[in-house]
């Protein structure tokens, strides 16, 4: 397994309290197009759900709905911690989103970007360097957003996951455009996250990405 020697990950010792992500009776639309009806899912602490299906089946829309960005046409998403259902604001601060967008401006450096998010998310700036090192971007802090390759942008997205420890990871094709090492890195990080009691929902086209994950296949609606 490809690991950075001498570095164990920013917060391997912490363990999350048990969270559960639940969606009931979701109706998903995109631009008037019906993507799904009566979709229900539940992901436990330490669990993972792989979203599969052809392009346009609604994987990203489902993830954006779980993240709270998109409002479902029907049904509801909730995040429970123990017995309590969390408010929208608490849900937002415990959720990580890794989408297709780079997440930083073209004229912004990697270091400035992570510093901003550390400030905005309320974590110490000291976490930035180790997070970059863990995803293989050590020393890339001065690099501008427009100079990053596709794979480096994906890795920076992974560094954001490590910057702030959050129990819910919503990843949209995290290994897309990555080399073999990058895919292994994604697998490792998700495994570590689950061992610490985190949960993940991952949309992917990779034949194998997660260990013993539940599968949800979305079909194209005719």
């Amino acid at each position: 397994m490809a690991r950075i020697p001498g570095y164990a990950g920013p917060m391997e010792h912490d363990v999350f309290p048990p969270h559960r992500l639940i969606a009931r009776g979701l109706g998903l639309r995109r631009g008037g197009l019906v993507l799904a009806e009566e979709l229900s899912l539940s992901v436990e602490a330490g669990g993972a759900l792989e979203l599969r299906g052809p392009n346009g089946a609604g994987k990203t829309t489902l993830l954006r709905t779980l993240a709270g960005f998109a409002r479902p046409a029907a049904g509801a998403v909730r995040l429970a911690c123990g017995e309590a259902t969390l408010e929208a604001e608490e849900r937002a601060r415990r959720t990580h989103w890794l989408g297709h967008a780079p997440g930083l401006r073209r004229e912004e450096s990697v270091g400035e970007h992570l510093t901003l998010l550390a400030d905005w998310w309320g974590v110490t700036r000291r976490r930035c360097e180790p997070a970059l090192a863990r995803v293989g971007l050590a020393g890339l802090a001065p690099r501008l957003g427009r100079m990053l390759s596709t794979g480096e942008r994906r890795r920076l997205g992974l560094a954001r996951l490590l910057l702030d420890p959050r129990p819910v990871w919503l990843l949209d094709e995290p290994a897309g455009g990555m080399d073999e090492q990058g895919r292994t890195l994604v697998m490792d990080l998700v495994e570590e996250h689950r061992r610490r009691g985190g949960l993940a929902v991952v949309a992917t086209h990779e034949p194998v990405l997660l260990m013993d994950a539940d599968q949800l296949t979305l079909e194209l609606v005719a």
Binding site: R64, A67, G68, F69, A70, R71, E89, A92, R93, T95, H96, W97, G99, H100, A101, P102, G103, L104, R105, R106, E107, E108, E112, T115, L116, L117, A118, D119, W120, W121, G122, G145, R160
Partner: protein, 224 residues
Amino acid sequence: MSVLTAFTGLFRRELSLAWAGGGGAALPAAFFLGMAALGPFALGENLDVAPKAAAAILWLALALATLLALDRMFQADLEEGVLEQLALSANPLEAGALAKILAQWVAVGLPLAGLSPLGALIMGAPPAGTPALALSLAVGSLAFFALGAIGAALAAGLKRAGLLIAILVLPFLAAPLIFGAAAGARALSGQAFAEPLLLVAATALFGLALAPPACAAALRLHLD
């Protein structure tokens, strides 16, 4: 405390981005001075009215230069996925919108106000009133950015947002423009200007109260 760290962190980032890589602030500044420099030529043989028209021309230049800066105020962050990362936080987008407004004001508005005495002198206005003119423009640009940010946030998801922003925002810029141009003209002609200046300040406060929730609501719609 952590809200304050978050707020200043975003504010500082916006400031450095405004001037990074020949960024957003240089064009409005050039536009503003260009209008001041060309104003006397446009007046032609009526050059004797140029000192009287200086305040009006500079206030118009400020309003239009503000529109140039509003174009990309939220759009770039929306396109690059920065807003998604900012939205998933205990800190509300309202605070983020306020930080962006204040940063635009400091990075773009205040330099333009600082350049305005130069612009007024180019048009032959008496030097004595120019500091007060600059003050009125400084307050006015805060009103422009606060009110304009609402339009910028509403149009952030569109490809050519500039036109829509102009249509949405210009009517709201009329109020500070009316009072501000009056304050500037009175200052340049040596009259009392406190009353119109206070009215400009009132529009700025109104904008600052209205803009953060309005911008945040608009940005959340774009994330959908």
